[in-house]
């Protein structure tokens, strides 16, 4: 009972602190709050998208996991030693979430340049553009 009361008190205190001081003073902090948020999110692999990437992202989400991109990919056919066994997830994973960019950025090198995969995508995902966006986020 006392523990619950303490938790509510703590929550109420911080809420009041936020509403009464942090919110009114935010304009004076010159983006420090945003920087603090981004620093915390970036450590988890989440990066803010600029307006062009935000505008394009809905098209990335159209992946239906058919795997045709992986079949058409000439790099996968030519270089089995470097191929990833679930290659189609280069598009499928990125189409749902742009986190963990560093994990896939290196493997997306051909995806950002070769047209073959993009040409066979039934839902017309701009694969090259998406791959380039992910590689940019990983830097």
């Amino acid at each position: 009972m006392m523990g619950r009361l303490g938790a509510w008190t703590n929550l109420g205190w911080h809420f009041a602190l936020h509403v009464l001081t942090r919110m009114p003073l935010r304009p004076l902090r010159r983006g420090a709050d945003l920087q603090r948020f981004n620093d915390a999110a970036a450590a988890e692999g989440y990066h803010p998208l600029g307006p062009p990437a935000r505008a394009a992202f809905p098209r990335y989400m159209n992946c239906v996991h058919c795997g045709l991109c992986a079949i058409a990919c000439e790099s996968l056919q030519a270089a089995p030693a470097s191929a990833w066994s679930e290659a189609w997830t280069f598009v499928g994973g990125a189409s749902r979430s742009l986190d963990r960019t560093r994990l896939v950025a290196a493997d997306l090198s051909p995806c950002a340049h070769e047209p073959a995969a993009e040409a066979v995508c039934p839902t017309e995902i701009p694969i090259r553009q998406m791959a380039a966006t992910i590689r940019g986020l990983a830097k």
């Binding site: 992986a70 079949i71 030519a78 089995p80 030693a81 839902t123």
Partner: protein, 366 residues
Amino acid sequence: MRIEFDVAVLGAGIAGSAAALAAAHSGARVAVITGPPGATAMFSGAWRGGCPDALRAALAGTGYVLRAVDAPLPHPCGQRIHCAAAAASHAGARLAEAHVVGIAGLTGFHAGSLARQWRAHSHATVQLEQTPAAGWAPVSLAAFIERASHSVVTALAAAAADFSTIILPAVLGVRHDGALHAELQTALGCTIGEALGTPPSLPGWRLHNALRAALAAAQVQVIEARAGGCSANGRAHELELPNGDVVRARSFVLATGKYAAGGIDANGAFREPAFGCPVWVDHLGETFDVADSLMLTDPARTEDQPLLRAGVHVDARQRPVNRGGDVVYQNVFVAGSIRAGWSAATHGSGAAAQDGWNAGLEAVRA
């Protein structure tokens, strides 16, 4: 630029290709306008229903031979699939006396569990040279087998030694001509049957390429584009391409498929993007022209889904009609899964092929 044909076919899947070949065989000048591949390229390898003889012959001319099948074929989900025909590489997968052979590093094909589910004779797993540390992508493995078939023969020889039939995953090459399958059978001295495929499906990719090769052999011009149609007075006259070119034709076949490649748009109201044909689905006494996911989804996921029955309704000559039954376009003929009432559960490859063939002949007669 304006290009003229006798018949213009929208879609290069099974139905569209069959329509184009039917029209070409009847002497028409034919163009196929197609966007990216759709459901045909995700084909498992199991051909359900018949196939027009001329289409079968056209495919055989490219090296893609459809053989009759009289026993169920193994599917990597563990099921045994009944079908009428399959490509030669699958047709030999007779389960009763088969030895299932998996390939180390290839996910989705566990030989031991599949052999039990398929009730096959026995199983083994082989290790190929140059197996990547991260495992095989199906297309990487298929391309490797094409390039290094001799090393594959060496790896399989021991596993196949005491068996008349072995079943392998669907990775015997990327090419559609079956040459690699024949080569391996000769080298190993036994029957090799490929299991059916799942996405990313090499059997589907091979069928897609075989159809394209058949169209090329029939001198059908294939234009890679999504086209919009122009019409007046109940007839379609031409198709506008994104680059500004215009394709004019005396008649058209609409075979753009259902949802996979955008033949039907179901974001909100149903829409057929090429000619604007009316699309609706009748379900439980109601008519839906909006893709209501709550009403049009059966909670039993294994049941036929009402949403998949949405499509373009047609008359006896496969011309699109509105809700009053009036023909919308006198010279447009609809074929394949874009039709209302069609779904993969109710209609297979053979039905699409026959429907497309009929539409192609109607288009020539129009």
